[in-house]
Symmetry: C2
Subunit: 358 residues, 2 copies
DNA sequence: CTGAAAGCGCTAACAG
DNA sequence: CTGTTAGCGCTTTCAG
């Protein structure tokens, strides 16, 4: 309430030195005689001086926070990602500006413009559209961008995501091996990378198994619970319903499970299920199914590392990093110990700690 | 890439006016002749000028973002809260700085100091400790603070939270009415408001029913899954295990359910359960139990509204708002329609859309 | 109605 | 080693 804002000038006067000297002491740059330094430090103490980060940022023409643009923080995958990123940024002295885009291009654009206007230190983004999203504004302001979970083609930047193709291939294969021929697919719009890649991998795997994909078994839409429920419900209203189902992210899985429950169908007895993304509550369910768990922490680490390199000036050509998912064949790994990593996966499962999704 | 930063001066030169005039046009303050205004607007367009928010904030000595301090963004209750708050702030032109405190006082203090140094527009905080947390630094910088979910006694500020006492009373009563006498309690540390109030309400309700609380049936700790699991497990290792269980937040419920599952105990057959907080996946479970759902959206709205009033200069004495929880007697309200609001609740349930927790 | 000028708090040359 | 000074981009008196 005191509205006390001690400035560098007051400290300088108190210590009987110039503001430059105070600045040198406080920022630790440049040499200052020990005695003078002590005097300044004393003044800083007495007055309770704290340099204004605003002034600093303004001076440096760069602020100290990173914008994180994701479609839906309530998706546990995004939550875990945000959590990990926040942690890593905090350790590096940056803070996190959370931007929920709701998968709406306009909102995404507004936020990107905002971050450009704010001279953010960097941006981490899960683009709302593979083809539409543009980082032009932010890149023009000299702000580095890293994509997570998805990529944006118009303005190539560093990116990290899971190997969607391998993971979805494994899920599909899993069902095929158990004799399923009619495999329903509840997926994400193909305008986003994860949606497109997962869907294509599903189709491709079916074709390689000599099965001609039946589009009446496919539902693509927003990766939210409501769509997952509605899509799943509709899949079983047809004359020739699927015997197995694939859900392309955790929210769709949630919706699908609710739809199946509502129809009184049991998993895997009445219908088999293979799902993208692990969530903490999976092991509580009676339905048992195979799950592809994403290496969220690793993804966050890679994103932050790449961003830091860019912030420090790296001018390498954009890199595209793919991390491997882990296949969990029974949704109770910590009870049965049946975690089976994919052959090509070299990362540990963090199943029991983190959610998943895209 | 282009590093293009068009400043107000360039616009002024282009339009053949002074920077003051450009400022007036751009910010819409002060009168400018229509013709001049048009000229300036044209120049703005042509150069693609965007005022630097940093400079603006610096000038105004106040930035445009609000800090949200919560202990754990991975707790669905906090996630939903953050989501709603972000939404409401966005609509008002503010952005959200996410600060995960991990319930660690030191980290909380660091973040509060940071927000003070950054001259945040405001702070919304779920304090890590009812008695320890101090907003001194941030209040001294003239930054308004609102508490959510919990309160902090050292520096009184506006606050919103659920009526913990009424809700926990109802949960306990529910079990008592069903004849349970030995009711276990897995709760939060009493150093935080929600933990203290919920625990006290439990004790009080038992006493009023003529039951002397048995402390061997009580486990208090961090509101995380691991503790919930371990605590629950230990509750049933004793000679006289409880016949019913209360969990004081969603993470504890998750842990408790896993422990019970691991022990092969069914709910409600082997043990009855009453839980604080609703989560989207509850309806998928076979275990059925009563749940107290918090009005998250309303909580967010109240917090943001109170903060806005303070930002606009309100000097009212601090207010303490209590919102009522909704009791859900069967965890499948959308299927059975058995949602039963508490008598004193006047808010609708958002059970099916939002998580819960504290 | 418009321009000139004074900073907001800080850092970084540049002198001394 | 330390002080002086010139801004960073913007808003806002204060004159004209």
């Amino acid at each position: 309430m005191a509205e006390t804002t001690v400035t560098i000038r007051e400290v300088a006067e108190r210590a009987g030195v110039s503001v430059a000297t105070v600045s040198r002491v406080v920022s630790g740059k440049g040499h200052v005689r020990e005695e003078t330094r002590a005097r300044v430090k004393a003044a800083v103490q007495e007055l309770g001086y704290r340099p204004s980060r605003m002034a600093r940022s303004f001076r440096a023409q760069r602020s100290s926070f990173v914008g994180l643009l994701i479609s839906d923080i309530e998706n546990p995958f995004h939550t875990s990602l945000a959590r990990a990123i926040e942690d890593l940024l905090y350790a590096r002295g940056y803070s996190l500006l959370l931007c929920n885009t709701d998968e709406v291009l306009d909102r995404e654009r507004t936020y990107l413009q905002f971050l450009a206007d704010e001279r953010a230190a960097g941006v981490i983004c899960a683009p709302a559209s593979e083809s539409e999203t543009s980082f032009h504004a932010v890149l023009a302001a000299g702000i580095p961008v890293v994509c997570v979970d998805r990529v944006a083609r118009r303005t190539p930047v560093d990116s990290v995501r899971v190997n969607n193709v391998a993971a979805m291939r494994a899920l599909t294969q899993h069902l095929l091996e158990r004799g399923h021929q009619r495999i329903g697919f509840v997926g994400l719009d193909t305008t986003i990378t994860s949606g497109r890649e997962r869907f294509e991998a599903y189709l491709q795997t079916l074709r390689e198994a000599g099965i001609d994909p039946d589009m009446s078994l496919v539902r693509l839409g927003k990766g939210v619970e409501a769509f997952g429920r509605q899509a799943t419900f509709s899949l079983f209203e047809v004359s020739q319903p699927p015997t197995a189902l694939i859900t392309a992210n955790n929210m769709l899985t949630l919706g699908a499970l609710k739809a199946l429950q509502q129809r009184g169908m049991r998993v895997p007895d009445d219908v088999a299920l293979a799902a993208f993304d692990a969530t903490p509550w999976l092991t509580l369910l009676t339905p048992r199914f195979v799950v592809a768990a994403q290496p969220i922490r690793e993804m966050a680490e890679t994103a932050v590392l790449m961003l830091m390199e860019r912030i420090e000036g790296s001018a390498q050509p954009p890199r595209e990093v793919l991390l491997e998912a882990t296949l969990i064949t029974d949704a109770v790994p910590h009870l049965t110990g049946t975690v089976r990593p994919l052959a090509y996966a070299d990362n540990a499962s963090n199943f029991d700690e983190k959610g998943g999704g895209a």
